[in-house]
C-alpha cells in the first residue's frame, strides 16, 4: 500500500477543536500549496512546544521554563494570587492587562460526580505557597457554577485569615463560555466582591 500523506495530514488536523474534515482539507491545501515556509515553521514550533512545554513549578501554568513568565516577573505583586480553573483563564485575564499579581491554575474544579477532589486540583500545593510566601490577598476566579462555588469555598475554608474576593464572572473568560448568559453578565458588571 502506498502512503497517502495528504490524507494523513488532513486526518491529523481534524484533532483540533472545531475543525472538521472540510476545514482540515482547506488547511492542508493552504499549507502545502500556498505557504510551505509557514508550514515548516509551524511544524518545528509545534514539535518543540510539545516537547519542551510543561507545567510551571509554582502555579501550574504552561511554560517551557521551570517558572512561567508571570511567576518569574519580579515587577509583579507577589502578595496576591488569582485562582483560576484553566490556563486559558490566565491568558484571558492577562490580555486585559488589569491584574498585576500572580496566579494559581487548578486545572479543573471540584466535581464529586467526576471524582475530582482537592488532590487533583493541587490545593495542598496552593496552601503551601500561601503560607510560605506570605500571601495577603486571594482572588477566586473559579467559574460561576455550583462546582466553581464549592471550589472557591473549599479553598477559603482551608486558608488562614487573609483577604479573599470573588471575581464576578460572566464575560466569556476562558473555558467557561458555555455558562454565559445575560444573568451572569449582569453579575460581572457588579465587580468583584469580598467573600
Amino acid at each position: 500500500m502506498t502512503k497517502d500523506l495528504l490524507n494523513d495530514l488532513i486526518q491529523a488536523l481534524t484533532i483540533l477543536p472545531g475543525v472538521g474534515k472540510k476545514s482540515a482539507q482547506r488547511m492542508a491545501l493552504y499549507l502545502l500549496d500556498k505557504n510551505k515556509q509557514g508550514a515548516k515553521i509551524m511544524a518545528s514550533t509545534l514539535l518543540e512546544a510539545v516537547e519542551d512545554i510543561s507545567r510551571c513549578k509554582r502555579c501550574r501554568m504552561l511554560t517551557s521554563n521551570d517558572l512561567c513568565r508571570v511567576c518569574s516577573d519580579l515587577s509583579r505583586d507577589d502578595k496576591s494570587i488569582c485562582i483560576v480553573e484553566s490556563p486559558s483563564d490566565v491568558l484571558a485575564i492577562e490580555s486585559t492587562g488589569g491584574y498585576k499579581g500572580k496566579y494559581f491554575v487548578l486545572l479543573g474544579r471540584l466535581s464529586p460526580i467526576e471524582g475530582v477532589g482537592p488532590e487533583e486540583l493541587g490545593i495542598d500545593e496552593l496552601l503551601i505557597i500561601i503560607e510560605s510566601e506570605g500571601i495577603e490577598e486571594l482572588i477566586l476566579a473559579t467559574s460561576s457554577t455550583v462546582e466553581g462555588d464549592a471550589t472557591g469555598m473549599y479553598i477559603k475554608d482551608h486558608i488562614p485569615d487573609i483577604k479573599v474576593s470573588r471575581i464576578s464572572y460572566g464575560i466569556p473568560i476562558g473555558g467557561e463560555l458555555e455558562y454565559v448568559d445575560s444573568n451572569t453578565i449582569a453579575q460581572a458588571i457588579q465587580g468583584r466582591t469580598e467573600v
Binding site: 464529586p112 477566586l140 462555588d149 469555598m153 463560555l177 454565559v180 448568559d181 457588579q190
Partner: protein
C-alpha cells in the same frame, strides 16, 4: 411521549461530548432519570447555550428511541446563584451525587421529583442546610424502598418506647440496648415526627449515612470524601 410535548426536568450533571456537544443526565417528572445529548450546545449561538446548568428547573422536548435521547428544545425558570460563597454548594453537590448514584434509570417517580424540586427551592431560601438534608435523606430512602422503621424495634416488634434506649443497626433498624445506645426512644419518636431540634445531630447524620451506604452497594460517595474535613 410525542416529540413536541414539553417535559419538566432538572439537570443533574453534564459533560462535554466532542468539541461542541453536551451530554446531560437529567431527572424528569414523567420519565425519571435519563441521558440526553444537546448537539452544538457549547456554541454561543446554540439555543441550548447557557441553559444546561445543574439545579435549574428546565422545560424540554426531546426525540429518539435509543437510550440516549436528543434534546430538541429548552426553556427554563431562572435559577441564579448569588455571588457570595457558602457551604450550601457542598450540600447541593452531595445531593446530586446521591441522585446520580441511587436513582434507577427510566423509573418514573413523581413523588421523588417533587421531593427533589422542593429541596432545591428550599435550599435557595434557607441558610442552615442540616435539617433540610436530613429530611431529604429520610424521604429519599423511603421512596427508594429503604425506609427506616421508626415505629417498632427489630426484636420484639414492640412500639418504640420513649423511656428505653436503642442502638441503630443499618439495613435492620432499632434494637433496645442499654449498652452504648445511639438514641433514646424519645429521640426516635422525634425523628419520626421530623422534630430534629433535640436529637443529637451527629447520631442522626450517622443514621442516614449508614443507610445510604447500604443502598449504594459498595459505590463510593466522593462528595463525602471531599467535604468530610469541613462538615465536622
Amino acid at each position: 411521549m410525542s416529540p413536541n410535548e414539553w417535559e419538566e426536568c432538572f439537570l443533574l450533571h453534564q459533560r462535554s461530548y466532542g468539541d461542541t456537544s453536551i451530554i446531560a443526565e437529567i431527572f424528569t417528572r414523567k420519565s425519571g432519570k435519563m441521558s440526553v445529548i444537546a448537539r452544538g450546545a457549547k456554541k454561543p449561538k446554540s439555543k441550548f447555550f447557557g441553559y444546561l446548568v445543574p439545579f435549574s428547573k428546565l422545560q424540554i422536548t426531546y426525540s429518539g428511541r435509543s437510550e440516549l435521547k436528543t434534546l430538541t428544545n429548552i426553556d427554563r425558570e431562572i435559577f441564579l446563584l448569588d455571588n457570595s460563597l457558602s457551604k450550601k454548594s457542598y450540600s447541593l453537590l452531595y445531593i446530586n451525587e446521591l441522585m446520580i448514584k441511587l436513582l434507577p434509570k427510566d423509573a418514573a417517580n413523581e413523588d421523588l421529583f417533587n421531593l427533589y424540586s422542593k429541596f432545591i427551592e428550599d435550599s435557595l431560601k434557607l441558610l442552615e442546610m442540616e435539617f433540610l438534608l436530613r429530611n431529604f435523606e429520610i424521604d429519599l430512602l423511603d421512596m427508594l424502598g429503604y425506609g427506616i422503621n421508626f415505629q417498632t424495634d427489630i426484636d420484639a416488634h414492640e412500639p418504640i418506647d420513649p423511656s428505653t434506649d436503642y442502638i441503630f443497626i443499618a439495613e435492620r433498624g432499632f434494637q433496645a440496648s442499654s449498652k452504648n445506645p445511639d438514641f433514646s426512644g424519645q429521640d426516635i419518636i422525634n425523628i419520626r415526627n421530623r422534630n430534629f431540634t433535640d436529637v443529637p445531630s451527629n447520631k442522626l447524620k450517622q443514621l442516614t449515612q449508614a443507610t445510604i451506604m447500604f443502598c449504594l452497594e459498595g459505590k463510593d460517595l466522593n462528595s463525602r470524601q471531599i467535604f468530610r474535613r469541613l462538615q465536622k
